[in-house]
Symmetry: C2
Subunit: 338 residues, 2 copies
DNA sequence: TTATTTACTGGAAACGTTTGCGTAAATAAA
DNA sequence: TTTATTTACGCAAACGTTTCCAGTAAATAA
């Protein structure tokens, strides 16, 4: 091990005290310009890097934020991460990522970790299986500021960034109805997710507005197993052959619908029209091009990070309950053509 | 601030010394079973979490690995991250992610950070713009074990995980030639990336094997701006209308080719056949379905993480130069049909 | 009975940083 | 001249762990 270059070795080499070297590197006003220059020169020459852990321990600040999401292999979340990382970098913050794989137990374990003071703030999209939120309340008790994005947790009072999910659900359904659909199925990932509920309510309201009945049997809850989803959708389409429209609440369920239709030989959009929430850049290149409700994923990540970092740098540990709602956009494409 | 629960407070409450409490929580053999139980019980009750920074500082070990990649909004990398995270979780390690956006300056800045001892090991896919590798050598001098994956850096001697890029390039090109193409363009992201070179060499070798000339003008270097890529490809297709096959070395260039053909009204695969490296799950749903060379992205991430964590836990700071090469798979689909 | 081991436990140093406080010299004010 | 103030720096404590080094008491061996 080469003798690590730290404040002590710098101080010795410069014949100064550790305190002075530390202050010089922080550009403190209580060290002379000449000394600052000497210190900086040697630090640069020896390639000194402060020990992040010592600094974090002493200052009780880690310059790190955590991001807890279900998956990273998902266009929405990877775009959001891009936004988050952008903001973090501007503030000289580091980003630790944890994946729950939509598993409640993992989410709890991760939350447990996080009470150790490893991060200064948390950005989170809750796992779909989560019902109990004691682990999140514990984080708040530990003075960890939290910002939820997209999959928010209503039971915890803090800042939240979402999109207009109710309205989007309404518009998506309405879009199908206006395209001539009369039997619209709704595929969602989990009924107890707040955004799932909102989209569902929008769906139900649109049906009602068009004088159509809400049929519980047309609502399908999918999971994380893509193959299984495709099978479930296929079974639904077989069981209810009158279905002529599908509103998929998340991207991979729209994809699953394509596969199901392919297997059943149902043509899109002639027999079944499909609209889905999605951040696929290549929705337009699908066969047929997929009509999407597209969330401003990058901006959601950005905004959530901005709110969090503002709180962190101001040492506001508990964020006032606030909701920022961004607008999704509907891109009509071939999959819902008349 | 609620009085933080730490070793000291636990020790006081239990009328024990800090040392004993610490040892009890680590299940040391030199503390009695009864004491261990008492300590554990109170720790659990008070929800004690050890301060990660104090521990890292003292043990000179952070239980954290860094991942430096160009983008996260990319199927290959997000799958790789899934693999990495899986292994890290099994070893109780944390994962910090840094994005270079393929920018050399950012990569250098990130490397600079990383010498601060914040992480115990590094997984890296180098930025396409990187020419000089002093920043990486510095990391090695700082005793940071590095494993490169996919976009490896040949100039740095350490462990590397890649796929059979030369062979894949050869097979991809051969596939087009066997489908009848005579003028095959090659789109790549950067000529000075080692994997880019390998794929390119495979491309050139396949041409030669089929008695076709290598034409430099048919090789196009793309960037990160998708719109610009599509324009460049379009211009190439206009300039050289005889092009009847495209081998895209990365996913988004294949997508760009689709867009370019769409704009020019060239039909795939009748006029132009396209094959591309890609981890798109929905390649089969594109219009037409895209023929792909698919890398085992998840496994690459997994294997790289396994190698790294083995080195980290064995305190091997400098890894022996080794290469692990996994196999890519070619999925023939409609975009290269005769 | 004495010597030696074994089983627990505690004191204190160390990791590298930041920062409150003290102080000497230099300067300004009285 | 004396007295305040400023400037520039050092000492040492603190952050919460881990771990080396002893130390005590009981158990075993001689």
């Amino acid at each position: 091990m080469p003798p690590a270059v730290n404040l002590k070795s710098l101080a010795q080499a410069l014949n100064l005290s550790i305190a002075t070297v530390s202050r010089a590197l922080q550009d403190s006003h209580e060290v002379s310009p000449q000394t600052k220059e000497r210190v900086r020169a040697l630090a640069a020459e020896l390639n000194y890097q402060p020990n992040a852990y010592a600094s974090s321990l002493r200052r009780n600040l880690s310059k790190t934020i955590g991001v807890v999401i279900p998956e990273v292999n998902n266009h929405f979340f990877s775009l959001a991460i891009n936004g988050i990382e952008e903001v973090a970098r501007q503030h000289d913050f580091h980003v630790i990522i944890y994946l729950t794989h939509d598993d409640y137990a993992r989410e709890v374990a991760i939350a447990q970790y996080l009470t150790g003071g490893r991060i200064d703030g948390l950005l989170m999209s809750v796992a779909s299986g989560s019902q109990d939120f004691a682990h999140l309340h514990k984080l708040q008790e530990n003075k960890l500021p939290i910002v939820f994005f997209d999959r928010v947790c209503e039971e915890v009072s803090t800042a939240k960034v979402t999109t207009n999910d109710y309205e989007s659900g309404f518009r998506a359904t309405q879009h199908l109805l206006e395209a001539g659909c009369r039997h619209v199925a709704h595929l969602l990932v989990s009924g107890n997710l707040s955004i799932g509920r909102s989209r569902m309510q929008g769906y139900a309201a649109a049906l009602q507005a068009h004088g159509l009945p809400y049929d519980e049997d047309l609502v399908l809850s999918g999971g994380n197993d893509q193959e299984r989803n495709a099978t479930l959708i296929k079974e639904l389409l077989e069981r209810r052959p009158e279905i002529d429209g599908i509103f998929a609440s998340v991207e991979h369920l729209a994809i699953g619908s394509y596969h199901a239709c392919q297997r059943l030989g149902r043509s899109i959009p002639e027999q079944v029209k499909i609209i889905g929430f999605s951040n696929l850049e290549i929705a337009a290149l699908l066969n047929p091009a997929l009509t999407t409700i597209t969330q401003p994923a990058y901006d959601i990540g950005r905004e959530a990070a901005v709110i969090l970092l503002r709180a962190v740098t101001r040492k506001k540990s508990v964020l006032p309950a606030q909701s920022l709602m961004l607008e999704s956009e509907l891109f009509a494409r071939a999959s819902t053509a008349r």
